[in-house]
């Protein structure tokens, strides 16, 4: 198994921490992982993205030019990363704020109304966990048990009381993710 994922959106959406939780989950499952952020002055408010690779074998490059999965959370990221999904790969996006929806016909496209759901849960900060839940529903690359362990590992102890809320958000993501187009195998 090898899964190459790009998660991209605005700074402040929890893009990096979502990647971190996914990476820690992989570690908990005994996988090799790399987590490679694009960092910079644009960290807050600008675009932010992170590449996560989960693999059963040693990972060569943490920098990639094509991805098995793109998780896209704003329009700039859609423009940049839709073309970089491998044929037959997955594009998961939140339609909130998207003006041009994905157009490719050779990839699997799913959407997750995470921003709306987070608003209903009255917890904007669980947004990224709803997205993570949606991804894991489509591609269960890591077992849920290990995701919870990863969540615990990546949160500082003073935030551990937030774990049940995050767990619930992941569950909501699993439930509400919607298929848009699926390529025949």
């Amino acid at each position: 198994m090898k899964e190459e994922i790009i998660i991209a959106g605005f700074g402040g959406q929890g893009v990096l921490s979502m990647g971190k939780i996914l990476a820690y989950s992989g570690v908990m499952q005994g996988q090799e992982v790399t987590w490679m952020p694009s960092y910079g002055p644009e960290m807050r408010g600008g675009t932010a993205n992170v590449t996560v690779v989960l693999s059963d074998n040693r990972i060569s490059s943490p920098i990639l030019h094509a991805f098995d999965t793109a998780i896209i959370l704003n329009q700039q990221s859609m423009d940049k990363f839709e073309p970089l999904v491998k044929p037959g790969g997955l594009l998961l996006y939140d339609p909130n704020g998207i003006t041009r929806h994905p157009e490719r016909e050779d990839i699997n496209i799913y959407k997750i109304e995470a921003a709306e759901e987070a608003a209903q849960l009255k917890s904007a900060k669980t947004f990224n966990m709803i997205v993570l839940g949606a991804f894991l529903k489509i591609k269960p690359v890591v077992e849920m048990e290990n995701v919870l362990k990863g969540l615990k590992k990546s949160l500082p102890e003073r935030h551990h009381h937030l774990i049940p809320m995050n767990e619930k958000a992941i569950q909501r993501g699993v439930e509400i993710v919607k298929e848009v187009t699926v390529v025949k195998a």
Binding site: V33, Y39, S60, I63, H65
Partner: protein
């Protein structure tokens, strides 16, 4: 854990005595992590935020002069500011560890990863005929492991050692296995192991002087000669490298640090196409694996030096090859990281043609 955090964890665990640093992106996590871990409560390690990189490196001089295991970390512009101190430390034969998480230059440049500090690191950097021992980690695990290795080599040869990393390895997270906590040297052990150190002059010995000044030219030539003997010994005994898929290779990529990781993926792409490419990854950039390149060169149709610079290490590769096969350079720079397919394409274009 992040590469930068691994440096901090490993420093405490290997029993380092002191860290002196100044914040600069993309490596501020090193000092942040150390301050969070508060090693002064556990091992007694001193952690101090200095007023500048100039002060940091001179604090290393003071600490190393006392025979202590001291380190700093910075990124390119800060390392430039430390060159004076590094020259003085090489001249006074003081061991220390400096971590450079390289960003693109020149000047304030960019905060994105780069490998454009190769010349500065391996050729001396400051004034005078001296060398740093330069280790190039290609993973977060090696960031952790090279802290102890760097200290060991620095003390063995009484010379500053540098971990030459970059923003990519520093910011990247990977799995790391950390070694168990080791004890710091006691003051008695320091005095015994480093009889040259300024520990306070006991009755039993003459007083020690840590200095790099010698106004008698003849004597100073002798001193310089002694340094050169040390560097020849380093070149003989301490070269470290890793080769992958070189046995059947027609082409060779030479790349260190993050470029080696990216090149490994490029080699997978090329081998799928039936082009046999191998990888030589220098782990020590000084001393450079010249002999291994000389050994492999005659078996190759061409060699590509891949580095995130406009072409620095390629000069040392060419010096090793001595014109026997074609040596080309490829690399994005100024903060741009090349992708595996770009490297693969460059090799095809530059070495195979078309």
């Amino acid at each position: 854990m992040k590469g930068n955090e691994a440096i901090a964890e490993a420093a405490i665990r290997c029993g380092a005595d002191g860290y002196f640093g100044y914040p600069i992106t993309p490596q501020s996590e090193v000092m942040e992590k150390l301050m969070e871990l508060q090693p002064w409560n556990s091992t007694g390690m001193v952690v101090l935020q200095a007023e500048s990189e100039t002060a940091s490196i001179n604090m290393l001089y003071g600490g190393a002069g006392c025979g202590k295991r001291v380190m700093t970390s910075s990124s390119s512009p800060g390392i430039s500011l430390m060159q004076e101190g590094l020259s003085y430390m090489a001249g006074a034969e003081l061991p220390c560890l400096v971590v450079n998480v390289v960003r693109g230059g020149p000047g304030l440049g960019t905060i994105q990863p780069s490998q454009s500090d190769y010349f500065q690191s391996v050729k001396g950097g400051g004034h005078g005929d001296y060398k740093l021992i330069v280790l190039a980690p290609a993973s977060v695990q090696e960031m952790a492991d090279f802290v102890e290795l760097g200290f060991d080599l620095a003390f063995k040869y009484r010379n500053p050692a540098m971990i030459l990393s970059d923003g990519m390895i520093g910011q990247m997270m990977e799995k790391v296995e950390l070694k168990p906590q080791q004890k710091r040297w006691t003051d008695e052990e320091v005095a015994q192991m480093n009889p040259w150190a300024t520990t306070g002059k006991p009755e039993s010995r003459d007083y020690n002087i840590i200095t790099s000044v010698e106004l008698d030219s003849e004597a100073h030539e002798q001193f310089n000669h002694r340094l050169q003997v040390k560097y020849r010994e380093l070149e003989e005994k301490e070269v470290r490298f890793e080769t992958t898929s070189v046995d059947d290779a027609d082409y060779l990529i030479v790349a260190y640090g993050s470029s080696a990781r990216i090149s490994a993926a490029a080699i997978e792409i090329l081998r799928e196409k039936g082009i046999k490419v191998g990888l030589l990854r220098p782990i020590t950039l000084y001393p450079f694996p010249t002999k291994e390149i000389q050994r492999l060169a005659p078996k190759m149709k061409g060699i590509l030096s891949v580095e995130m610079s406009s072409g620095q290490m390629v000069e040392d590769v060419r010096l090793a090859v001595e014109g026997k096969v074609k040596v080309e350079h490829f690399g994005r720079y100024g903060g741009v990281v090349h992708s595996p397919d770009e490297v693969a394409e460059a090799l095809e274009q530059k070495l195979i043609g078309g």
